[in-house]
């Protein structure tokens, strides 16, 4: 029993990172009906820069690098929009391109090395279970970020404007909402959050140039599994996936435990009631 609890706790801590990566995806979806598949790459570039420079200045530079990358993505987004593209999938595929660019740049500039930095090495004992402070710190940060986002999206005029932009961009523009500026801002915020996730990964598990796609897909899973619209669901999605993964690697065979996150996603999605919007023809 104690082992079970331990796996659950460890999974929850691990899920915090997924939640942080999922949050920008959810935010962007709520504002622009698309997904940014470069978040894993933002995380990587943030970690690489932070590890190279080191210290607080490194962390700041890392976040700046991630936001700069996201700014490039936002320009691509605006370029596509200005040229008449409305298909969210095209934006998403373009972000795959940017992800490839960043990943390749990191490999070229830093080589195939891995990045890892340990600041907080201490751990706390909780009823015989040792939890490291960095992990708890990660969870705390993820929770704070997600709650702030939730409040912003659900209960502020900014959030209403964001949602309006997604549902009806033309209408929102007519209502004097700066739709494009808002969407670019969300891309930037996404870069910041993904950069933050990258830093936390750097301080806990470490990261290398192969990581972006895996990180992106973990975040994507966490963002979609309980419904993409809300940051809170991202947190639950991330934690649920972390817990499922931890329990599986604790108790199941390697093959089954590798499958578990995917089986979990399928299970949750198959229980979801039919997408009424899709039935009515609304394919975002």
């Amino acid at each position: 029993m104690i082992h079970f609890v331990e796996y659950v706790l460890r999974g929850a801590l691990a899920g915090a990172i997924y939640a942080l990566l999922a949050a920008p995806m959810s935010l962007l979806f709520a504002t622009a009906r698309t997904i940014d598949f470069a978040v894993g790459a933002y995380a990587l570039i943030a970690a690489a820069v932070a590890a190279t420079i080191g210290g607080i200045a490194g962390a700041e530079a890392g976040l700046a690098a991630a936001m700069l990358s996201a700014a490039i993505m936002s320009l691509i987004f605006v370029g596509l929009k200005r040229l008449g593209c409305e298909d969210g999938i095209v934006f998403a595929l373009a972000s795959f391109g940017l992800s490839a660019v960043i990943e390749s740049f990191v490999l070229w500039y830093w080589g195939a090395r891995s990045f890892i930095v340990s600041y907080v090495a201490a751990s706390w004992s909780l009823g015989g279970i040792r939890l490291d402070q960095q992990g708890l710190f990660n969870l705390l940060i993820a929770a704070i970020v997600v709650v702030i986002l939730h409040v912003v999206v659900r209960h502020s005029s900014l959030g209403r404007m964001m949602r309006a932009s997604a549902v009806n961009a033309v209408g929102a523009t007519l209502a004097a909402i700066p739709v494009e500026g808002l969407q670019m801002g969300v891309y930037l915020a996404g870069g910041l959050l993904a950069g933050l996730a990258g830093l936390l990964v750097l301080y806990s598990a470490g990261i290398d140039f192969t990581a972006p796609l895996g990180l992106t897909l973990s975040g994507f899973g966490a963002a979609i599994v309980f419904g993409v619209g809300s940051p809170l669901r991202c947190l639950f999605g991330g934690i649920a996936m972390g817990v499922a993964q931890a329990l599986a690697s604790g108790y199941l065979s390697e093959a089954l435990s590798a499958m578990t996150p995917f089986l979990f996603i399928l299970l949750v999605l198959s229980m979801r009631p039919a997408d009424t919007e899709a039935l009515a023809g609304g394919r975002p």
Binding site: L80, L83, F262, I265, R283
Partner: protein, 328 residues
């Protein structure tokens, strides 16, 4: 006449293949590239059918291709079947898995669809690599025999492109049938399609199953041509590439995915190979998407439409609005 008119894409492709392949097969590297391009083109076509026609944003086509490839490898190497006898298996196995999967995803939003197909693809890949004795685990299976008389790379290039032409022929038939039209309606408005008498989940699943069979064929050809399959051969990256190829060429156009394959794969050939390749590739991809949002074919079609309109207005042909105005 109508037979020809309704198979324009097949004819264009067949003519291109007949002109290009004799030239290409003079050079060993081009021959090899042609064969692999054909295999990737089939994979991109399968994405074209499932995303461009049925609206299923799929990230699992490489996994279905690997089912086809492993079917070929296991049937011939493990069980000693003659090559060709394994083709039905390579066709049916992916379809049998894809059909129920599509039942599940048909009602989800595109993002959830993408996620669940990604999940299915990963599960297939993990299952394959975990069945050590059966599939050779991570090491894969080497020594898959050639398909009978087809041995030299040039014959493979011909076989593979013949297969591409056949698939395009079938695909074009489908598009010009009631089912193809229904898929087209369904992609835009499921309710509208249902009111036409379409059973949306059923039709989408059937289309996805066919698309997976195409992927299976591509894997079957892969296994026999390369003679080796491993979990890395047809991995998730390839699923993403196939989606990109289809979209870049124009997923909704029959020949779009093939054009996208030639373009994107050609790019990776021409760009200098090393660490920075991803930078060039990514930038090229973004530029292409910026220039051609509906794919290269969308660009071509848009240009043609403009020309047509210009010609019409010059020749004084009636336009829709005029017709409307002249209605009794």
């Amino acid at each position: 006449m109508s037979f020809v008119a309704r198979r324009g894409n097949t004819l264009v492709l067949a003519i291109c293949v007949l002109i290009a392949l004799p030239v290409v097969t003079r050079n060993a590297v081009w021959t090899d590239s042609a064969a692999l391009l054909g295999i990737y083109a089939l994979l991109a076509l399968s994405v074209g059918l499932s995303y461009g026609q049925a609206g299923i944003l799929t990230l699992s086509q490489a996994a279905f291709a690997s089912l086809g490839a492993y079917a070929a490898a296991i049937c011939t190497v493990r069980w000693g079947w003659p090559p060709l006898a394994d083709l039905p298996v390579a066709l049916l196995l992916p379809a049998l898995i894809a059909f129920p999967v599509a039942r599940l995803v048909a009602r989800l939003s595109p993002l959830a669809t993408a996620l669940s197909t990604l999940a299915i693809g990963s599960i297939i890949a993990i299952a394959i690599r975990s069945a050590d004795d059966f599939t050779g685990g991570y090491m894969g299976i080497a020594g898959v025999p050639s398909i009978g008389f087809v041995k030299a790379p040039a014959s493979y290039a011909w076989l593979i492109w013949a297969m591409v032409v056949i698939v395009v022929f079938l695909y074009e038939n489908l598009c010009h049938s009631a089912y193809g039209r229904a898929l087209n309606v369904l992609r835009f408005d499921q309710a509208r399609a249902a009111a036409d008498g379409v059973n949306p989940p059923m039709l989408v699943s059937a289309a996805f199953a066919i698309s997976s069979s195409i992927a299976g064929v591509s894997g079957w050809l892969y296994a026999h041509y390369i003679s080796f399959v491993s979990p890395e051969s047809l991995d998730a990256h390839l699923s993403i590439s196939a989606l990109l190829m289809a979209v870049v060429g124009g997923a909704e156009f029959i020949l779009g995915p093939i054009l996208g394959t030639l373009l994107l794969d050609g790019l990776t050939r021409l760009l200098p190979a090393a660490e920075l390749q991803g930078v060039y590739y990514g930038i090229a991809l973004i530029v292409i998407l910026l220039v051609a949002r509906r794919g290269i074919f969308g660009l071509i079609e848009g240009g043609l439409a403009q020309v047509r309109q210009l010609r019409r207005s010059r020749s004084g042909e009636v336009t829709a609005l005029e017709i409307e105005a002249s209605r009794p």
